[in-house]
């Protein structure tokens, strides 16, 4: 029985080249979308972006806000650990470790937010409250 050859050797080379190119271009983005990034802003100005996925160990950042706010990063998560405001709502938010999580200190105009991949495909884009 004669074998049916759909692709010639050159066609296969072209296909492999295209696939390799696709992998090179897509793979970094696929990995990027799985990462979690925390953004710390004071009065709209970005103070620091932290890649939580690769953050190991323990670090604290004292923000120059009024009232003063201190942020802690520890093993892939972030929280507001101290705030000299009255209600401490931001501190009570606890650890932020998933996409969309946020701690806000309105008097200090501090926002700590986490962006990255959605927790699941069913997770909403935004929440009304």
């Amino acid at each position: 029985m004669k074998k049916i050859k759909l692709f010639s050797r050159y066609d296969l080379l072209v296909l492999i080249a295209i696939s390799a190119l696709a992998i090179i271009l897509l793979v970094p983005n696929l990995f990027a979308s799985k990462s979690l990034t925390a953004t710390i802003t004071v009065d709209g100005e970005v103070i620091e972006r932290v890649d939580l996925s690769s953050a190991t160990g323990f670090r604290e950042i004292k923000l120059e806000s009024d009232p003063a706010v201190k942020v802690r990063i520890e093993n892939g998560r972030i929280c507001v650990v101290e705030a000299e405001c009255e209600d401490k709502l931001c501190v009570n938010c606890g650890w932020l470790e998933s996409d969309g999580a946020m701690a806000v200190c309105l008097p200090a105009k501090v926002v700590v937010s986490v962006d990255g991949s959605k927790a699941s495909d069913e997770a909403p884009d935004v929440i009304t409250y």
Binding site: K5, L6, F7, S8, D11, V14, L15, I18, S19, L21, A22, L25, L26, N29, A32, T39, T41, D43, G44, E86, D87, C93, M102, V104, L106, K109, V111, S113, D115, E122, A123, P124, D125, V126, I127, T128, Y129
Partner: protein
């Protein structure tokens, strides 16, 4: 002949593969490169915006500027020289305001009339008396509430295209519709730019611009979580609930949604009402009105404004208006749909 045919098939296959791969890569690249996300504080609340499209950067910057201007020039009762501040300061006199402010107040009065006063912007002095959410709340005495109630009444407010006049002892407060107004202003800005889609939250009042998006409805028992999702297509969505701002005194919980008839937080079997319609202002005003009116009395009002709603009751049941049934999905096992 056979060989030539085979060659054509293999060329088509290669071209198709290439097209799919290039399409995927381009889509991924375009999607990621033109999206601008920003979270900041303005109007005393958190604004989160996610805008994609060629002009995402420019639109984001203009929106931030406009929101700050909106608060200081028009809406805030605290900001000196704002339209609302001047209306309250000159109570009893005609006060010139921007056309926009006059139109927003006019629309608010329409909803006041249609809700039979359940929504009323003239509760300003009562809101200041209760001051719920300030962290310094205390239970006001009955007599003071009674005296201030005498001046509440949307019918005493006169609006023309460029001026507003309130009664001598009245004060207006646009706090209940400020976030929705901001959503409307943002939508007008987005229309001016080459923007594909946007999801904007102004302190929980949300604008969905362009593509459909999934919006979570806050769980009244734990507002950092959601208890249901609803698909929203190019509209606004707002929620009024008893969990947003409240304080406790003498063993009782007092939430921030004041009933203009009693002067006290509305007594209802609802925990929250979420409203979806074209205008952010309407969504905000209707969600407040529906929370005060209760489920049955709200339906006619919602119909008049072509709005849909989700009612969450204190017995953990949920009611959804007919137009929303296909787009609504309960995600928490703690609730059941009626």
């Amino acid at each position: 002949m056979k060989k030539a045919k085979k060659k054509v098939v293999s060329i088509v296959a290669v071209v198709l593969c290439a097209a799919v791969v290039i399409g995927l890569v381009s889509y991924d690249y375009i999607k990621s490169s033109n999206e601008v996300n920003k979270t900041y504080i303005a109007m005393g609340t958190v604004i989160s915006s996610s805008i994609s499209g060629k002009d995402a950067e420019k639109a984001t910057a203009e929106i931030e500027e406009a929101i700050n201007g909106l608060e200081t020039a028009c809406l805030s009762w605290r900001a000196e020289e704002s339209d609302v501040w001047r209306i309250n300061l000159n109570a009893g006199k005609d006060v010139s305001v921007s056309r926009e402010t006059a139109a927003w107040i006019g629309r608010a009065l329409d909803i006041s009339a249609d809700s039979d006063g359940a929504f009323d912007i003239t509760v300003g002095k009562l809101t200041q008396l209760w001051n719920i959410g300030s962290g310094k709340e205390k239970l006001p005495d009955k007599e003071t509430i009674k005296v201030l109630l005498e001046d509440v009444g949307y019918k005493k407010v006169m609006v023309s295209n460029t001026s507003v006049k309130i009664d001598s002892f009245q004060a207006i407060d646009l706090g209940a519709i400020g976030k929705g107004i901001a959503c409307d202003v943002i939508r007008d800005i987005l229309k001016e730019y080459d923007v594909k889609d946007a999801v904007i939250s102004v302190g929980g009042s949300v604008l969905i611009f362009g593509n459909k998006a999934s919006v979570g409805i806050a769980n009244p028992d734990n507002s950092s979580q959601y208890m249901a999702t609803v698909e929203v297509d190019n509209q606004s969505i707002s929620t009024s609930g008893d969990y947003e701002r409240f304080f406790e005194a003498e063993g009782k919980k007092y939430h921030h949604i004041l009933d203009p008839e009693s002067g006290y937080p509305a007594v209802t079997d609802l925990r929250s009402v979420t409203v979806i319609c074209d205008s952010g202002l309407d969504c905000d005003a209707l969600s407040t009105a529906c929370f005060i009116l209760g489920y049955r009395e709200s339906l006619e009002l919602l119909e008049k404004y072509e709005a849909q709603a989700v009612f969450v009751f204190d017995n953990h049941t949920v009611s959804v208006t007919d137009g929303l049934k296909n787009d609504f999905k309960l995600t928490s096992n703690d609730y059941t749909v009626e």
